[in-house]
């Protein structure tokens, strides 16, 4: 319980630091944030000054940040001058599809990498293991932007299996169409993840399979499947879990690329447009949401360590 509280506090601190630094970085990069927020078109000086007052841009960064935080809590994050809508509406519309994309790609990667890694480790140095080793190496060295272009060319343009310009269809509206629309961006993000997951898990499994308790499990007469899935896998999950947490931020970054290529109207696309048009509040809100998602995933993984390993659980209960 104490551990839980500790991690939760840490989560909040990390979130505050990340959002503060983002705010400073974004606003410091602008010649005049108030002018940017007033809109791209010729705004009057009076309008600019009004905006400056409204968003407290004449105050020091910590005070600006405090006001921004207050607005965040009340979910009133201002308006986008370029997109003509409130930041809350924009992010609210776009964020779910990107979060889904992130979860789908991690889910797909886990579902595929677990059996691949288990079999490769079981038949270590066999033909399958060698093939996997080569294929994953190729996959990690392939930039996802190139992968996206290739996937788009074959699956959308040439074979027309999936739509090229994806549209935002919610799973609860039409699940089949939803899958068709998110498939290519999901695969784009998942390929690199599968490669990383497989390599990490296989290496850990190979180590675990040499431990004494695996010899003991064999001596108990258990089947290879039971030894692999029930005894070896659980002890080998730590690098994988850590990697899921660490990769999540990268996935959201990758989503910017994938959404761009497949024209999927998610938060990545929104962020991209906002950065181009110096829509500072939208950029800040997107960055805050990304940070929140990453911090939460890391928190969940921290909790999962204790679920998987009773020794961590007990050490923490004592500490």
């Amino acid at each position: 319980m104490r551990y839980f509280a500790q991690r939760f506090l840490q989560l909040i601190v990390v979130f505050l630091i990340v959002t503060f630094v983002t705010m400073v970085a974004i606003q410091a990069a602008s010649k005049d944030p108030a002018r940017d927020l007033a809109g791209p078109l010729n705004s009057t000086e009076a309008r600019v000054e009004e905006i400056r007052k409204h968003y407290h841009l004449d105050r020091a960064y910590p005070i600006r940040y405090a006001y921004w935080l207050k607005n965040l809590v009340t979910l009133d994050l201002g308006n986008s001058p370029t997109l003509g809508a409130s930041v809350r509406t924009l992010v609210g519309q776009r964020a779910p599809i990107t979060l889904l994309l992130g979860l789908y790609s991690i889910g797909l990667a886990l579902i595929l990498s677990l059996p691949i890694a288990v079999y490769a480790a079981y038949r270590r140095d066999g033909p399958f293991d060698r093939f996997v080793s080569g294929a994953t190496f190729a996959a990690v060295s392939l930039p996802n932007i190139i992968l996206a272009v290739l996937l788009g060319y074959f699956f959308a343009t040439k074979w027309r299996i999936f739509p090229y310009a994806a549209s935002k269809i919610w799973p609860w509206d039409d699940f089949g169409e939803h899958v068709r629309n998110v498939a290519l961006p999901t695969i784009t993000l998942a390929v690199g993840l599968i490669a990383i997951f497989v390599r990490l898990l296989r290496a850990d499994l190979v180590n675990t399979l040499q431990s004494d308790f695996i010899v003991m499990a064999r001596a108990k007469g258990l089947s290879p499947a039971r030894i692999l899935w029930r005894h070896a896998l659980r002890s080998s999950l730590f690098s994988l879990m850590t990697s899921v947490a660490l990769q999540f931020g990268g996935i959201l970054g990758g989503a910017v690329v994938a959404e761009q290529i497949f024209a999927l109207p998610g938060m990545g696309l929104l962020l991209f447009q906002a950065v181009q048009q110096k829509d500072l509040l939208v950029v800040q809100a997107c960055a805050a949401l990304f940070a929140l998602a990453v911090v939460i995933i890391n928190f969940i993984v921290d909790m999962l360590y204790a679920v998987v390993d009773p020794r961590i659980r007990h050490a923490r209960a004592l500490g």
Partner: protein, 355 residues
């Protein structure tokens, strides 16, 4: 199908015929076990004794078939109740593992699954092999924990290995090994990782369970003291071969092989004055890739002659209960003269020291 039907209630349970286990490595073929034959009766305990690298653990694992397939070359016959285990593949062996034969390992800390509750680890073979349901397996696991005399057995079912003491862990491992009522139990250095105070308890427990269950036990150890009170027979192994084999009483009363003698001398005795220097065996075990041409112990043997260095001694019986492989055994005339010589040298040395 397995020998559950025809395994004997008495008489020979296990017979090894010229068992060889070699490993191919980058440096060459390692002859870890090189021609071992013996028989073991149902319900008897055999101690396999030797120093590290003598091949005793590899021999035990060869009998059970628990060696990695890759790089292992096996020869000879392992007759278990009439079945030649050496001919079985992994799938065939698995029917024996956990049911017909099981093994207690040296380090209970690393040999128990750290992420699984003790109760589930004991219940697992019961459910897998005997098809018990969850409650049944749990009840039987509790019964087994009581059999191995673990304190507060009920509480242990839901604990993890790291919550138990070393002795309790080893008892839990014994419970796992006993779960499906094996006929042959291997114990590979079962007390080496334990406190001295619990070593005897664990050995007594294994003995007691052997009697209760009419099991045969193969106790692998480097410590002659461990096998002394807990086995019916002892096989002394050196460099992959048997140096001497005898009933326990006969071996201690009448040991013939200089290696056995040296092993015994390396154990501290209570009736010796404290700080008596222990007799270490000089030199090191031979390289098993290119073992010595004659007797493998010859390079380290104080009594070795030219014959020892060129001709391999074979295991010969001097009685139904005693055999050994040595050209100049303990008590032979050559041994006696060498003894006298060594004694007078020692006398000279100490006299010289005083002068």
């Amino acid at each position: 199908m397995t020998s559950a039907m025809h395994r004997p209630q008495d008489g020979t349970l296990l017979e090894l015929r010229d068992v060889r286990t070699h490993f191919s490595t980058a440096r060459g073929i390692v002859r870890a076990v090189d021609g071992v034959s013996f028989t073991l009766e149902r319900g008897k305990a055999l101690g396999i004794v030797g120093e590290s690298g003598s091949g005793k653990t590899i021999l035990a694992r060869s009998i059970m078939g628990l060696l990695p397939k890759r790089g292992t070359i096996r020869q000879g016959e392992v007759l278990y109740a009439g079945d030649d285990l050496a001919k079985l593949d992994l799938k065939g062996m698995r029917k024996f593992w956990g049911q017909e034969m099981s093994m207690i390992f040296q380090d209970p800390m690393t040999s128990l699954n750290p992420l699984m509750k003790i109760g589930n680890q004991i219940g697992e073979p019961l459910r897998v092999h005997l098809g018990m349901d969850k409650e049944n397996a749990r009840a039987t696991a509790l019964k087994l924990l009581q059999d191995v005399k673990i304190p507060e057995p009920e509480k242990r079912l839901d604990q993890y290995p790291h919550e138990l003491s070393g002795g309790m862990r080893q008892r839990a491992m014994i419970a796992i090994a006993l779960a499906c009522g094996p006929t042959l139990l291997f114990a590979d250095e079962p007390t080496t990782a334990l406190d001295v105070t619990v070593q005897a308890q664990i050995l007594d427990l294994i003995q007691e369970q052997r009697r209760d269950r009419n099991m045969s036990v193969i106790l692998v150890t480097h410590d002659l003291g461990v096998v002394a009170g807990h086995t019916d027979e002892i096989a002394v192994m050196y460099a992959g071969t048997l140096a001497e084999k005898a009933t326990t009483a006969e071996l201690f009363a009448n040991m013939k092989h200089p290696y056995t003698e040296a092993l015994l001398r390396s154990i501290p005795k209570l009736d010796q004055p404290s700080h008596t220097r222990l007799m270490a065996i000089g030199g090191r075990p031979p390289d098993l890739i290119t073992p010595p041409t004659g007797c493998r112990f010859a390079p380290r043997c104080p009594y070795a002659t030219e014959k020892c260095r060129t001709e391999i001694p074979v295991l010969e019986s001097i009685s139904a209960e005693h055999s050994f492989a040595c050209w100049n055994p303990v008590g032979s005339s050559h041994w006696q003269s060498k003894q006298d010589e060594l004694a007078s040298n020692a006398g000279l040395a100490s006299a010289g020291g005083q002068a």
